[in-house]
């Protein structure tokens, strides 16, 4: 009995030491972690508000937020639950808050943060949509958290060559429901598919199998996120 008590006491003491150490490091790193996350978000917002074809900003340079305060001034919709919209069918979620900017030509540009479920959990994507006469037009995306995806496979999701495949998707593509090419029965890819990427996008097909060999779950998570974002915009940005 005494032996067991001694063991329990030793383990308890060890756990207390560990808890104190972890708590101290957590407090020490809380601010740098918040700063890193904010910087990643700010950099992503600037990136998605840049026209991928011309490399020019859609909004005025002075309108790009560089601090939390400036970012908060651009909040369009928010919800205390942390989630603005969810589509349980496709497992796509839009996180709170959503931001609104005005483009140089006076159109509304919405920047949304959302996630889908990837291989190891949340894959968080930032995307910008511009409201045009015929509906919403997705400009660009940036994946800001893919830390639970497999290095070398799903973790390539934020590489430019992969990200580009999600750029400039017209509303006709979203109306059909975005799919990765493997889910749209477009696999294996036929000769000359590269020249048809934009035509596939207008049909809602995002070709990723050639730039992300072996990884389908992660791009599917991004596609689910974009579908949820589009549904949210259709509902809320009338």
């Amino acid at each position: 009995m005494l032996k067991h008590l001694k063991m329990a006491l030793i383990l308890t003491m060890l756990m207390i030491v560990i808890a104190v150490a972890l708590d101290s490091v957590y407090i020490l790193t809380k601010k740098p972690i918040a700063k890193s996350d904010l910087n990643a978000k700010l950099s992503a917002i600037k990136s998605v508000l840049t026209d991928p074809n011309t490399g020019k900003l859609l909004i005025k340079e002075s309108e790009i937020p560089t601090s939390l305060k400036q970012l908060d001034s651009k909040v369009w919709k928010s919800d205390s639950s942390g989630v603005l919209y969810k589509d349980d069918k496709v497992k796509g979620y839009v996180l709170s808050p959503a931001y609104k900017f005005t483009t140089k030509d006076g159109k509304n540009a919405y920047v949304l943060v959302g996630y889908g479920i990837g291989f190891g959990g949340r894959v968080i994507t930032v995307a910008a949509f511009v409201r045009k006469d015929d509906g919403f037009y997705e400009n660009a995306i940036r994946v800001i958290d893919y830390s639970n995806e497999t290095p070398g496979l799903g973790a390539q999701i934020n590489d430019l060559k992969v990200r580009k495949r999600f750029y400039s998707i017209p509303n006709s593509g979203f109306e059909s429901g975005l799919k990765v090419n493997k889910d749209a029965n477009l696999y294996p890819l036929k000769n000359g598919y590269l020249s048809k990427l934009n035509s596939y996008k207008s049909k809602g097909i995002v070709v990723t199998s050639d730039v992300m060999t072996g990884a389908t779950i992660t791009p599917r998570a991004v596609v689910s996120t974009l579908n949820a974002m589009y549904a949210f915009l259709k509902k809320e940005a009338k």
């Binding site: 383990l11 070398g152 934020n158």
Partner: protein
């Protein structure tokens, strides 16, 4: 005389992990994260250093508490210590090396179950003093970092033609398979054979000598 002997054995402890008992090529430990994160040199170096850091810290701490922990509860105690150091490394990387933290992702928390760390805790740190445990952790950590870096450099070079992002030859010469798991197995197989050959040559020299 005894000082000399102690110095030599400490040096032996430090250098054992470099080639003789290299955790990757000789002991064949922790292959899952090694193969998965060695897709390029930067990721490999980051993973190697993170693992080495955890290995050194956990070896020191386990050596410190080795006489306090009863034998029957040593495994949960060691796992808790290792998991704590991994959590600390994870928090630090999230705060200070965000891009690397995102790239390595899943494999940082998985350092907890890397057999190299548990293996050294059980085989060395639980039986030796703090200094030697530190040297063992450092030697094995450097050996692991060197091995994974070698794999990362080779795979990056042959898949996209760069090393640490610096172009060595045109991308068109790249072999995409090197980025994929089969490429990882091919490269590690080649290096294992090479290390075995070097060990055999050294053994034969000693026998002849």
């Amino acid at each position: 005389m005894s000082d000399d002997k102690s110095k030599i054995s400490s040096l032996n402890v430090l250098t054992a992990g470099f080639i003789r008992q290299n955790p990757t090529f000789s002991q064949v430990l922790g292959l899952c994260p090694t193969l998965a994160t060695s897709t390029n040199a930067e990721n490999a170096l980051g993973m190697g250093l993170a693992t080495a850091g955890v290995l050194v810290l956990s070896n020191i701490f386990i050596s410190m508490i080795r006489k306090l922990i009863p034998d029957v509860i040593r495994i949960p105690a060691y796992i808790s210590v290792i998991a704590s150091f991994v959590t600390i490394v994870n928090l630090l990387m999230h705060g200070y090396t965000y891009q690397l933290w995102t790239n390595l992702g899943l494999y940082i928390p998985l350092i907890v179950v890397n057999c190299i760390i548990m293996g050294r805790a059980e085989a060395f740190a639980s039986k030796n003093g703090i200094l030697k445990s530190f040297l063992d952790g450092l030697g094995m950590g450097l050996g692991f970092t060197g091995a994974i870096l070698l794999l990362g450099i080779t795979r990056e070079l042959f898949s996209v033609g760069t090393i640490f992002g610096l172009r060595i030859w045109p991308k068109t010469y790249g072999m995409f398979v090197m980025m994929l798991p089969p490429g990882a197995f091919l490269v590690i197989g080649f290096y294992m054979a090479f290390f075995k050959h070097v060990t055999n040559v050294r053994k034969n020299k000693k026998v002849k000598g």
